[in-house]
Symmetry: D2
Subunit: 347 residues, 4 copies
Amino acid sequence: MYRFTNDYSEGAHPSILAALAETNLEGNFGYGCDPHCERAAALIREKIGRPDADVHFLVGGTQTNATCICAFLRPHEAVISAATGHVCVHETGAIEATGHKCLAMPCGPDGKLTPDAVRAAVAAHPDEHMVKPRLVYISNTTETGGAYTAAELAALRAVCDELGLLLYLDGARLASALACGGASFEELAALCDAFTIGGTKNGALFGEAVCILNPALKPDFRYILKQHGGMLAKGWLLGVQFEQLMADGLYEQLGQHSTRMAQRLAAGLEKLGVAFGSPSPSNQVFPILPDEVLKKLEGSFHWEAQGPAQPGFTRIRLVCSWATCEEAVAAFLLAAEQALADCPACL
Amino acid sequence: MYRFTNDYSEGAHPSILAALAETNLEGNFGYGCDPHCERAAALIREKIGRPDADVHFLVGGTQTNATCICAFLRPHEAVISAATGHVCVHETGAIEATGHKCLAMPCGPDGKLTPDAVRAAVAAHPDEHMVKPRLVYISNTTETGGAYTAAELAALRAVCDELGLLLYLDGARLASALACGGASFEELAALCDAFTIGGTKNGALFGEAVCILNPALKPDFRYILKQHGGMLAKGWLLGVQFEQLMADGLYEQLGQHSTRMAQRLAAGLEKLGVAFGSPSPSNQVFPILPDEVLKKLEGSFHWEAQGPAQPGFTRIRLVCSWATCEEAVAAFLLAAEQALADCPACL
Amino acid sequence: MYRFTNDYSEGAHPSILAALAETNLEGNFGYGCDPHCERAAALIREKIGRPDADVHFLVGGTQTNATCICAFLRPHEAVISAATGHVCVHETGAIEATGHKCLAMPCGPDGKLTPDAVRAAVAAHPDEHMVKPRLVYISNTTETGGAYTAAELAALRAVCDELGLLLYLDGARLASALACGGASFEELAALCDAFTIGGTKNGALFGEAVCILNPALKPDFRYILKQHGGMLAKGWLLGVQFEQLMADGLYEQLGQHSTRMAQRLAAGLEKLGVAFGSPSPSNQVFPILPDEVLKKLEGSFHWEAQGPAQPGFTRIRLVCSWATCEEAVAAFLLAAEQALADCPACL
Amino acid sequence: MYRFTNDYSEGAHPSILAALAETNLEGNFGYGCDPHCERAAALIREKIGRPDADVHFLVGGTQTNATCICAFLRPHEAVISAATGHVCVHETGAIEATGHKCLAMPCGPDGKLTPDAVRAAVAAHPDEHMVKPRLVYISNTTETGGAYTAAELAALRAVCDELGLLLYLDGARLASALACGGASFEELAALCDAFTIGGTKNGALFGEAVCILNPALKPDFRYILKQHGGMLAKGWLLGVQFEQLMADGLYEQLGQHSTRMAQRLAAGLEKLGVAFGSPSPSNQVFPILPDEVLKKLEGSFHWEAQGPAQPGFTRIRLVCSWATCEEAVAAFLLAAEQALADCPACL
């Protein structure tokens, strides 16, 4: 059975597991006040080229988004997000639970928020009878696999500066964005007020790093972190993992691997004549496959069905991770080829 | 200067003002625990045919919606509303400030939420990674003047029963809905879990009555009321006003008057060839007028501009209230006729 | 039947009622954007000697406290209050409902918060595992009738400056504080970051004015006001009332009257040998009376029982308002004298 | 350098680390829907003798308390806790951040909440102008090391039943409570509406299990879990750890070890004539030591200083964990003995 269900089906990269074992009994102060967190933060500051950045480590993505947005906004301020954005749809209203409205703006199949959409959100909220749009939320890669280029990010930054908005980037899948032409670490740090570096989906057992660049957003962040249950008692577990990820290019290599595997799947399927629900250069791909074919594959492979496309066809999501092996990809493509061959009328 | 800006530009109906003056020094217990509130509640229970209803009095509409929705929902539960719904747009995120997401569903120009839209909202939220739709919010009349008929309300009730949802009706402009063919008081009480009866926009200085029919929603409502700042110290002021409104058909008469005045405006404008941005049988009408004409009228009349329609034309909102006099309506129509005549190419 | 239950048992001072009647049909824009609110704000700015103050009008006290505190604090920041403070005890957790902890500090029988108590609150919260004390809440008069002198207020201001705290004064009963030696309007404005001027308990039908002095607390206050349901549709009703109160010393006169009446009660009771639960120079007094005596009085007078003192005695609260007449005070004292005479062993 | 600072200074028990390594690549569905979580939950249900219990796994303690309390309460309902309770003091207002007031009640040096304190909290909140006490929060062991016996817990249960309250037990340090005479797993399950089983402080890398016994508290808990950021993507990491802890008595053994080590410290110090700030039979002890002695020890040992006792003396906290070795305990006692001997006038 091969899994393409998501990129958090396996544990940690062996080097991370080894580091956790090695440091297991060394004894550390709690709550992220330990040398591992310090070193990991220093490595991140160096990688993003911002010695002034505040770096914090949290366990999970929903927690990270809710904590940051709650820390950055006043009560009447709202989030602008693509309608498919993770905070809008898949976090059980965690942002609203902290009191803030998410304004869901239309976006294309790549899931990217455009400067025009940001402008439209602000224009639609002119006075105090409405929430005040204040923070632009983007995920990179997006929920449908898109990666923001440096130019796209710069355009969003420009509109944020013009309209007095904050730019926050959710990097739960940042490793794949980096691997497929998205803005670099330095560009992210230069253009965002804050962004996150996802570990959970790229080799860690768990863990997201938050980089705060805008000095106005830094004060008292650890209070909000604690209040939202995001301050891990054994905080050094996060430090140890990010030390591994940030050293020697491991983070980038794992993202390149997951992306290469997914793109190999996409290329193979495309060659077989398969269409895609959305274009994605990253570690998630969204083929539209005949239900008959899927029925044959489902004994050997896991994926997420995302709903019917045209009659008889379903859009599925195939995700590769740092742990996806070439054999799994080859097996899927072979099985798909055979199933499609058995069903000549299918495509 | 005549005002069609809104239906809360004047104070109270003279009989209400007289009652407030008369009772001014009688001495009453505070917080709504007084004979006036009791009598007003009894009159409402009688009028809606539900001796079992819990009736509470609050000062304003946003406060009323936030208090009710906060009282009725658990933290992960969400509101389904038309995208133009007051709670979605014009309450500065008051619902989100209590932790609940508002799901903005598409609606027609009449601003009504349909059973299909309710179904779509529920279908789009299948699991615990998303909020759980739980309360259907409708305003009656809607923000664009539509009134729910008994049949439309029954259809919403049916879908709510089927899907385990609560039906909450915001009656800030209920008086006009009653006057133009909307469901009756008894029908509202039979079909909604809770609804409100707006006084502010129909003859009171201020005041909204909440009727809770569903027994599961009744416990401890006064705690939530107090917590949200909605428990008026001199609560009898609300009781006195609703005693007047509910006795001798005053509430209905005032709603009929405001509706008649607005429809007279609409009919007159239609005769002049004016088109409308949305159909409205109630006390708000939405003509689309040439900017040149509006420029001539603006010295003598107030209205709310709602944005450009086709080039050179603006959609405006004209609202009549219990206090709108026939002279004002006649003056507007005469002025509009002249302005249109002066501008033959306009329409 | 005479009422000493509270200071919000009657409606409005006749001049206010007259002003409301007079302006009833004049037509005004909504939401506090009208000439009456402008004039009332100007009168307040003049009275407090701060042309730079932002002035807002709200309906009730709980709403006002919750709106201000929510507007002024970040999520992890907490309120320091006397344990008897209104926000701590009598607002159904309205402050906590906006996410903020109230730190209840010990206070004396006068209900005043001391600089030492403020220091203790801050000292007890040294790090990010605890909330961060940020706003000092005081009520003036306090819940037990105390009035802050200018010197006491200056001492609190000094500790706030030293510790980086905001000073917020709830003036629901400010009129009586002014009448009994409390800090003056100008002193309040010089020493507080924000304070409120209560109308509800001093001649208005309802209404509290918020004066914001600290420029950092001013931006976007109206958004929070609207979000908390505190923006009255017919906002000019508040303006009209405060125009009356602020002109020609009416506000001060009414406070002097209520205070004089209560102090006459206190002096009379003291002469009869009655002890008091707490010293109060203001419009509330707290005699401790024999239960036998209270039984005789309860047919003719209303008050609030506040619980047993020594066995056979109950502490009661007697409150006078702008509407309390001399006859009521005389009647109470006469009845008390007789009842005490009938019960020689009582005192 | 030996650490007695806390019980979360080391990583996981070797068998847990081994299990994590073993299962690292097996592939699992996310979010706690995996066979490890199922098995761990089954083991817990068996251990507590309640096949009907709902069991959920979360990462940390503050998150767990906030999620449970938010899920269990309506907006106006409050928590009753000992004044030293973790939710009252050390969670940065996480409970208030979900809108609920914590009522801090006096408690003895053992940190236990008594039925009388619960009664007093309810008696002090008689009406809707105040929050409604609804959930009794206790931690076991308490913050000062006390463990609730079955009889004490039954007495709290009785008062909860009488007053309509929920009983929630925070078992962050449950293992030590079990080891020192506290109520058993079965007794906890019979007496609490919900309780937690702490893994972080007893051998796990991280992890708290929530057991919900009261059926009324079960619905939709996973929604609230997700909304509060408590649903771990790689949820099986929690399942794997609790499988180890719950099998073969490991959980109990580790608790017995940490408790034995701490009590050996206490007994040794007592023999040296040292007094204690609070009695504690569990894995935390609170000796009062001369500052001169502490100065000598601080080069070789870590502890938490808890503030001055009598002049020249400081109350410290010594905590032992599953990983504390006998050598460390012996070394501390030896060093203390020498330091005290060097300072004959000290005790």
